[in-house]
C-alpha cells in the first residue's frame, strides 16, 4: 500500500522500552474508586444510583444525556458511598461531580447479554450497543464512539483507519494491547467496519512497534479486507488529520470531520472495547494505562478499573525513585499536568507519566533567533514564530488570519525551539481567545437578530392595529405602539 507523507513532524526520544517490554499487569482492586460523570466530550452523564446503593460490576451508574454523551458504569461490585465533588483529572484540579464506590471485593458482574452472532447485527444495533457500553475514544480525546459510528449514516465511509500510531513518547498501552489482544482488536475493528459500512480497513502501526505489527498481521491474515500498514514513526502520526493523510493522501478540509471525506479513525483500545461490548455485552469499566517516566520505580502497563486514583497506580508500580518534576496524564507532548495523585484514571487516560527534571530538559526562555525550526516541523504549515510574536503583542486577530485556528496544539514547535519559547502555551491561549471572540460575536449576532425580529413584530402588530382602525390618525398608532 502506498504511504503519503505529511508535512513537518518530529522524532522525539521514544522512551518506550521500559514499559513496552513488560506484559500488561493487573491492578488489585483499590480501596475506593472515584468515577467522574463526565469522562468524555459532550454532556455529562446523569446519575441514576443513590448513596448507599449496592451495585454490580458493569451496572450503569449514570445514563447519557444529550446527543453527544456517554453513560458511566460501575467498574466493580460494591457500595456507592458518595455522589459529589472530587478532584478532576485536569490541570485546574477543580472538583467535578463524581460517584465514589467502595468495592466489596467480589467483582460480581451484572448479567450481560452476549450477541449470538455479532456480525449479524444491523448498523443501528452495533451503534446502540457501543453507546450503551459507554465507549469513548480511548486514544485520549474521549469522543463518544457511537456518535462517530452514526456519522457513517450521514456520510458514506470508504476507509476505516485503526490508529495504532501511538506516537506520543513513553506511551505503550496500545502497543501492548496489540501484542497481547490482537485477536480481540481485529474482531473489534471488523465490528466497527460493519457498523460503518466501510469498504476497506487499514490498521496503521508505527514502525517502532515491530512486535505489535507482527501480532496484528497474524490476527488479520484471515480477513482480506483488512490491511495492516507499517507507517513511519514520526510525531504526530497518531493525530487524526496526519494519519488520514498518511494512509489515504487526502487532506481533511479545515473545520470538517474526517467522515465528510469518507474516512473514520478509531483507536486500537476503542476497537478492543467495542469487541467486548458487542460480542460479550460488557461495558467499558477498565482500561490499560502506561505508568512510566524516569521517576517511576517499576514502569509498566496496567489494566486499571476506571476511577482508580493515580496514586494507587503509582504505588503499584513501586512508587517514585526521586521526586518527579511533573506528573502527567497522557503523553508528554500533549498530556496535561495531574493536579494531584488523588485524581482518578478516566476512560481517556492513556498514561500516568512521572518525569524527572533531567528528562524534561527544562530551561529558561531566551530570545527568538528566527531560526525557523518551528516552521520546518509544524505539521499544519504555520509559521509559529510569527504567530507567537503576534499573540504576545495581543494581536489575536492578526494571528487568526495567519491560521492560528488551525493549530493542532501538537507541540512540535515548542519541542524543537532552541530559545525554549512556550509556543504551544501561547497558541492554546490564542485559540481560546479566538473561540471566545467567535462566541461573543455569535451572541451579539443572535441578540441583533432577536432585536430585529422584535422590531419587525412590533411594527407588524402596529400595522395590523392600524389596519383594523383605519379611521384613526397615524400619530395615535405610533404612541400606542
Amino acid at each position: 500500500m502506498k504511504i503519503f507523507r505529511f508535512r513537518g513532524g518530529i522524532h522525539p526520544e521514544g522512551n518506550k522500552d521500559p514499559t513496552a517490554c513488560h506484559p500488561i499487569a493487573r491492578l488489585p482492586l483499590p480501596q475506593r474508586l472515584y468515577i467522574p460523570l463526565q469522562q468524555h466530550i459532550g454532556e455529562p452523564a446523569a446519575p441514576e444510583v443513590e448513596v448507599g446503593d449496592h451495585v454490580l460490576k458493569g451496572q450503569r451508574l449514570a445514563r447519557h444525556q444529550g446527543s453527544v454523551s456517554a453513560p458511566v458504569h460501575a467498574p466493580t461490585s460494591g457500595r456507592v458511598i458518595a455522589i459529589g465533588d472530587h478532584m478532576a483529572p485536569h490541570p485546574s484540579g477543580l472538583p467535578v461531580q463524581t460517584i465514589t464506590l467502595e468495592p466489596d471485593g467480589e467483582e460480581r458482574w451484572i448479567e450481560t447479554e452476549p450477541a449470538v452472532d455479532p456480525f449479524a447485527l444491523t448498523r443501528a444495533e452495533v451503534s446502540a450497543r457501543v453507546r450503551d457500553a459507554g465507549i469513548v475514544g480511548l486514544g485520549g480525546a474521549a469522543f463518544p464512539a457511537a456518535v462517530k459510528l452514526d456519522a457513517g449514516n450521514r456520510h458514506p465511509i470508504d476507509t476505516l483507519i485503526l490508529n495504532g500510531g501511538e506516537c506520543e513518547p513513553y506511551l505503550t498501552c496500545d502497543d501492548r494491547l496489540m501484542r497481547e489482544g490482537a485477536g480481540y482488536v481485529v474482531e473489534g475493528v471488523r465490528l466497527i467496519a460493519n457498523g460503518l459500512g466501510a469498504k476497506r480497513t487499514v490498521i496503521a502501526i508505527e514502525d517502532n512497534k515491530p512486535e505489535a505489527l507482527e501480532a496484528m498481521r497474524a490476527a488479520a491474515a484471515a480477513h482480506p479486507g483488512i490491511h495492516v500498514l507499517r507507517v513511519p514513526s514520526r510525531y504526530p502520526m497518531g493525530s487524526e488529520k496526519q494519519l488520514v493523510t498518511t494512509v489515504t493522501g487526502r487532506e481533511i478540509p479545515a473545520g470538517k470531520l474526517s467522515a465528510e471525506i469518507g474516512v473514520s479513525v478509531h483507536n486500537v483500545g476503542t476497537a478492543l472495547a467495542v469487541c467486548r461490548a458487542v460480542r460479550f455485552g460488557k461495558p467499558l469499566v477498565s482500561r490499560v494505562v502506561t505508568v512510566g517516566g524516569g521517576a517511576i520505580r517499576n514502569p509498566r502497563n496496567v489494566v486499571v478499573p476506571i476511577g482508580t486514583p493515580a496514586g494507587d497506580l503509582i504505588d503499584f508500580c513501586g512508587g517514585f525513585t526521586e521526586p518527579p518534576t511533573r506528573v502527567l496524564m497522557g503523553g508528554p507532548m500533549m498530556g496535561q499536568v495531574l493536579p494531584g495523585l488523588e485524581a482518578p484514571v478516566v476512560k481517556g487516560t492513556s498514561g500516568i507519566i512521572a518525569l524527572t527534571a533531567a528528562e524534561a530538559h527544562a530551561a529558561s526562555e531566551r530570545a527568538c533567533l528566527h531560526c525557523g525550526r518551528c516552521v520546518d516541523v509544524c505539521p499544519v504549515g504555520l509559521v509559529p514564530l510569527e504567530l507567537a510574536a503576534r499573540v504576545r503583542a495581543g494581536r489575536i486577530d492578526d494571528a487568526a488570519e495567519l491560521g492560528m485556528g488551525d493549530c493542532l496544539s501538537c507541540g512540535c514547535c515548542a519541542y524543537v525551539c532552541p530559545a525554549h519559547l512556550p509556543l504551544a502555551h501561547l497558541f492554546n491561549y490564542a485559540k481560546g481567545e479566538i473561540a471566545a471572540r467567535r462566541e461573543a460575536q455569535r451572541k451579539a449576532e443572535e441578540t441583533r437578530k432577536l432585536a430585529e425580529a422584535r422590531r419587525l413584530r412590533l411594527a407588524a402588530e402596529a400595522a395590523a392595529k392600524a389596519a383594523r382602525r383605519p379611521a384613526r390618525p397615524a400619530e395615535t398608532v405610533e404612541t400606542e405602539s
Binding site: 493523510t245 481533511i252 479545515a254 507532548m333 530570545a367 528566527h370 496544539s409 532552541p418
Partner: protein, 338 residues
C-alpha cells in the same frame, strides 16, 4: 513549563552558537596556515571587544548579563566580523567593526534576535565605505611573516602596497576594466590559484567542510546554501558560456572572495534572514544574484555584503508571502489527494 510539551529537544541558543564556532575552525586553521597567523590576533581582538561590548550593553539595558554573554552569540558575531575583514587590518579597525556589529546593529535594535540586519555585514560595509584602502589590503598566501602581520595589526608602517597584492576578484576586475585583457589572460597572474585566489581557495574549502558539519548537525537547513551556490553558479555559468572572455567561470566565482563563508555562515544567519522554506530559497538566491551583479558591474570587487543587506530588507515581505500552505486550506482540499 506550565503547558505541554513537557519534554523538549536538548537544544539551546548556546549549543547552536557553540556548534557554529566549531564549524568555523577548519576555515580559520586553513587561514592561519596559508595566509598567516594575523587572523588569530584579530580574532582575539574582536572577541574581547564584542564580549565586552555585549556585557556593557546588557548592563546599560538592565538585562541579565551572565546568561546572555554565556550564549556565545557575541563571539559568533565577532568571529564573522573578523573573517570577512582582511586579516592584517589594524587593531582599531577590528575594534570599530566589532563595536558597530554589537552596539549599533544588535543592541540598539533590541538585542539577540531583534536585529533586522546582519551585524557582520553592516560592520563590513561601514568599514569598507569609511576605510576603503585598509579594507582592501588582502595579503597573498604565505608572503607575510608573523612579525610583519603583527606589526601591521598593532599599528606599524602601512606602506604595504608592495607586499599585499590585489585579491583575485580585484585583479580580475582591474584587468577587465583596463579593456585590454580577457579573463584567461588575467587569470595567468600570480594572485590566482587552481580554483580562485591562491591560498584563499583552500580557506573556502575549510568553510565548506564547516558548513557541511552544520548541515549534518541540523543547525542550518540546505535551503540557503543551495540557493546561494546554485544561483551564483547558475548565473555565472550562463554568462561565462556566452562570453568567456568577459565573464569568469562559476568555479572562480564560488572559490573567490567570501562566497563559501557567505553560503554557510553569513546568509544562514537566522536572525536577519527569512524563516520559511521558500523564503529562504528566495532570500539566499537574491543575495547571490546581487553579489554577482556587483562583482561584474558594480563599484566594489565583492558584492555579497551589499546583497545580504539588501535582502535583509526584503525579509518581512518574503516571510509574509511564502507561508507554507495551511493544512486543510489547500484549493483541492475536498479530499481529492494532495
Amino acid at each position: 513549563m506550565i503547558h505541554s510539551p513537557y519534554v523538549r529537544k536538548a537544544v539551546s541558543v548556546q549549543r547552536t552558537m557553540g556548534l557554529v564556532l566549531l564549524a568555523l575552525i577548519p576555515g580559520i586553521v586553513a587561514h592561519a596556515l596559508l595566509i598567516g597567523p594575523g587572523v588569530l590576533v584579530n580574532l582575539a581582538i574582536s572577541t574581547i571587544t564584542a564580549v565586552g561590548a555585549e556585557a556593557l550593553m546588557l548592563h546599560l539595558r538592565k538585562r541579565p548579563v551572565a546568561i546572555a554573554v554565556g550564549d556565545l552569540s557575541a563571539v559568533v558575531t565577532a568571529w564573522l566580523v573578523t573573517l570577512c575583514f582582511p586579516p592584517i587590518v589594524p587593531w582599531w579597525l577590528t575594534v570599530c567593526g566589532a563595536l558597530v556589529a554589537i552596539v549599533a546593529v544588535k543592541h540598539l535594535y533590541g538585542g539577540l534576535g531583534q536585529n533586522p540586519f546582519n551585524p557582520a555585514m553592516i560592520a563590513y560595509c561601514s568599514m569598507i565605505v569609511a576605510f576603503p584602502a585598509l579594507m582592501s589590503q588582502w595579503p597573498p598566501a604565505g608572503q607575510l611573516s608573523f612579525d610583519t602581520q603583527l606589526a601591521l595589526i598593532l599599528g606599524g608602517a602601512r606602506d604595504i602596497d608592495g607586499i599585499t597584492g590585489a585579491t583575485a576578484l580585484d585583479a580580475l576586475r582591474t584587468g577587465l576594466r583596463s579593456g585590454t585583457q580577457t579573463v584567461d589572460a588575467v587569470l595567468q597572474g600570480s594572485a590566482f590559484g587552481a580554483l580562485g585566489g591562491r591560498g584563499w581557495e583552500w580557506i573556502s574549502v575549510g568553510y565548506v567542510a564547516g558548513g557541511l558539519f552544520l548541515l549534518a548537525k541540523r543547525i542550518i537547513t540546505w535551503h540557503m546554501p543551495l540557493a546561494f551556490i546554485g544561483v551564483l553558479a547558475g548565473i555565472s555559468t550562463l554568462f561565462w558560456l556566452l562570453d568567456p572572455g568577459r565573464f569568469a567561470s562559476p568555479l572562480f566565482h564560488l572559490a573567490s572572495g567570501g562566497a563559501m563563508l557567505a553560503a554557510f555562515f553569513i546568509v544562514t544567519d537566522p536572525v536577519s534572514g527569512a524563516t520559511t522554506p521558500r523564503g529562504k530559497l528566495l532570500f539566499a538566491g537574491g543575495i547571490a544574484l546581487i553579489a554577482w551583479l556587483i562583482r561584474n558591474f558594480g563599484a566594489y570587487p565583492e558584492g555579497i555584503a551589499f546583497g545580504v543587506l539588501l535582502m535583509n530588507m526584503c525579509v518581512p515581505l518574503l516571510d509574509m508571502k511564502t507561508q507554507p500552505p495551511v493544512f486543510g486550506h489547500h484549493k483541492d482540499a475536498k479530499g481529492g489527494g494532495k
